[in-house]
Amino acid sequence: MAENFFLDNPDLRFRIANAGLDEVIRMRERDFSETEEYPDAPDSVEDAKDNYDKVLAMVGEVCAELIAPRARDVDAAGCRLEDGKVFYAEGTRENLKNLQQAQLMGAMLPRRYGGLNFPVTVYTMMNEMVSRADGSLQNLFGLQDIAETINLFGSEDQKRRYLPRFASGEVDGAMALTEPEAGSDLQAVQLKAHYDAATNTWRLNGMKRFITNGCAQVLLVLARSEEGTKDGRGLSMFVCERCPGLLVRRIEDKLGIHGSPTCELQFNDVPAELVGERRRGLTRYVMSLMNGARVAISSQAVGIAEAAYREALDYARAREQFGTTIDKFPAVYEMLVRCKVNIAAARALLYETAKFVDLRDSYAELVAHTDREALPPGVRKKARMYSKIAAELTPLAKAFTTEMANEVAYIGIQIHGGTGFMRDFNAERFYRDVRITNIYEGTTQLQYVAAIGGTVQRVLDPLMDELSLLPYQGRLRRLASRVDVGRDRLREAIHSVTEHHRHDTEYFELVSRRLCEMEIIVFVSYLLLRDALKERPREVLAERYILDMMPVLDTHYAWINSGDFSLVDRHEEILAL
């Protein structure tokens, strides 16, 4: 049989088999009312799940057989800028053609615009496999959140004009947010939008930097529409098309993801349309777009980690030293096991996040399109709850998956030894490609800023309550009790910080990383225990993760409990030495 990145991955198949999407499917499919109108629409939950399985298996084969073999050449060739025009590597062009032929460019869009109407969960799995095949291709395939943003906030007219072109692959997209002086702090965006009453259009003027695929046909642009404002409330979202006034001034020479062009853009009176309402560009639309992109980047990280781990494992099983293959040495198998367990743990968190994003989207859609009186009781409350949970899980997942993937790629080289340092092996490419994942769409440090509020407010507590009360027995029971103790320590640590140091913001910011990491450890431990109940052989994964990570949690606990302020007080002294 042909190679297949879905069928060869039992962990990913476990995730789709246990994705918990039944309710989401019924809501997305409007109780299967589209079957007469669209021949590809499913007629039941089972039919929809079968569709996901079959399409994922198809994507798995495309990734393994077509995309992965081109990845080395794509990395070596990179992108070129000639006379203001960007050229992809040949392999990238072929990859995009294949993905377009496979009708995957509008995975989440409604069928009426030519999309597949798939949930975020399934799209995330596609992203993961694409990234395993070629980390840089995710930056192009994974831009579907742009169309999704137009679908969520654009006018009906805009949707009709743009979405079918995205879904068919006729146009590609870019989101132009970052500027030289506005990176992590997007409130500082300066690119100017002014309304030209004579032509009845908006015009954009200014610069954007580090724009992934900035050479795209359709761009979403964050711009300052309210003259004289300085903060995020003066920014609006615009959509524009590639045109002579929009120049690609340079493309960046990067450490990794060479297949994806990172552009510096100059806007000279570029005609644009407003998306949604004025002044809500950053506060609402970019936040939504960014959260979608964070899930996509998490899957990119997991995909690259999967590729790095597999090559390391193959190498360790083949490489002989001291008369035996090196995977037999404790120092080596410890690293391999660490990779395997952490990838499974990251996947558990990522797809739990995707599930709540799906629930949030489905409930938000229901609330938005139903009369207030007709809404069943409790729907609004659920919609709010899912929204909160998704907002908490998304940055936690981004932080965990991308840091994990960096470690796996690092270990991947280590296991290869000297050969891993050479370009002859893929290990070094994975290491370079993965390095951006914990930086863009918000650095890990900013993910903790986004997550700490929800951690302190115990947004995940209802989920943890439920998970801790599952009917564990024997070894699983003992492990669950250990996690319960960890959770108590987490609460105690939070209590200690919020009770005693509520007004010491600097200290609070300092410990938020530790608190968020504790939150991740506890939540992921519960998820792995739950998975072990569903599939017994997964008990070893839960056991390994919990026994390795509880001592880490305890260290954070001890550090916070020690009341150590010296870093806040004396960091300048240390740096001045």
């Binding site: 049989m1 042909a2 021949p39 590809d40 629409a41 499913p42 079968d50 569709n51 079959k54 399409v55 198809m58 084969e61 495309v62 077509l66 072929e94 294949n98 032929q101 496979a102 009708q103 995957l104 597949l116």
Partner: protein, 303 residues
């Protein structure tokens, strides 16, 4: 101009990825142990047909002869973009050599032309990876009285009644013009076959042959004849019908199909087992490599 292109494809055991016992004790292929796949060069033929349809418009139909399970390759062809599919299946077709196979396929092609649409071109893969004969395409051309081009890599142009193609020959290629309708066999270097389309996959996974429909209704088929007719009409209306033709549906003579129509006689099959009896390991230093070369020369492997 629009073209109707008929592509003949075959389901074959995957001889490239052998798992388990690939050969039976008598030296024949153990089909049960090998996964069944779409013959690779037939995918190239289908891709070429689909590209021509994109250029000139028209219709692409796929046909195959095989057991009912061969419907899998027809469905895959629909996922890739084929418009119509037909299965030639009958116990009487079993055991066919290339002569009986091409005879049966020709009858299928004529039925297609008579009942569905006259065709402008017939495509086949150069050869199948199970038999490696490369005979069926050329024989089919003879039976249909069509001019043939083999080893086609590229179709440069199709005009009314003519086409120009680049064909692979030893050490190079030739460009040939040929009247149409005609039959072409396609090589693997011609193109990269496209993946299935997700929307088509979700649509045509529900495509059925008559036997599959009957099997879904099991033994109740007789009592539920009305229901079956209704179901068949519904599937046909939605374009989800895979034509299934048996020997009695085709204009064929019983002694020219299947085993009876196959003059090929297998005299003997030799199961060649390559068993390394002993091996010798050499180091990677210069002295060891010199030693290796020396021994190879001694054994007259190198000279």
């Amino acid at each position: 101009m629009s073209l109707t292109i008929l592509v003949f494809v075959k389901q074959v055991p995957d001889t490239k990825n052998i798992t388990g016992e690939a050969m039976k004790a008598d030296g024949t292929v153990n089909r049960a142990a090998l996964p069944a796949i779409f013959n690779p060069e037939d995918l190239n033929a289908l891709e070429m047909a689909l590209e021509l349809r994109e250029r000139y418009g028209g219709m692409v139909a796929v046909g195959t002869m095989g057991p009912p399970t061969a419907t899998a390759v027809l469905r895959h062809a629909l996922y890739m973009g084929a418009d119509q599919a037909f299965l030639l299946t009958d116990r009487k077709f079993a055991g066919a050599d290339t002569l009986a196979t091409s005879y049966t396929l020709a009858a299928g092609a004529r039925k297609f032309a008579a009942e569905i649409a006259p065709f402008d071109l017939v495509f086949c893969g150069r050869q199948a990876i199970d038999g490696d004969t490369a005979q069926v395409g050329p024989q089919l051309a003879e039976k249909l009285a069509l001019p043939q081009l083999t080893y086609v890599e590229e179709i440069q142009e199709v005009t009314a009644g003519r086409l120009r193609a680049r064909c692979l020959i030893e050490g190079g290629y030739e460009i040939i013009e040929c009247p149409a309708p005609s039959l072409l066999t396609v090589v693997s270097t011609a193109n990269t076959p496209r993946p299935p389309g997700a929307r088509r996959l979700m649509q045509f996974k529900k495509a059925r042959t008559r036997s599959e429909l009957a099997a879904a209704h099991r033994d109740r088929a007789y009592e539920e004849a009305d229901l079956l007719i209704e179901e068949e009409r519904r599937l046909r209306d939605k374009g989800l019908w895979i034509h299934e033709w048996h020997a009695e549906d085709l204009d064929v003579e019983p002694d020219r199909i299947g085993m009876a129509g196959s003059p090929t006689k297998v005299k003997a099959i030799e199961s060649v087992v390559l068993a390394g009896r002993e091996y010798k390991q050499f180091g990677t230093d210069q002295a060891s490599i010199n030693q290796l070369v020396h021994e190879l020369i001694e054994a007259h492997i190198l000279s």
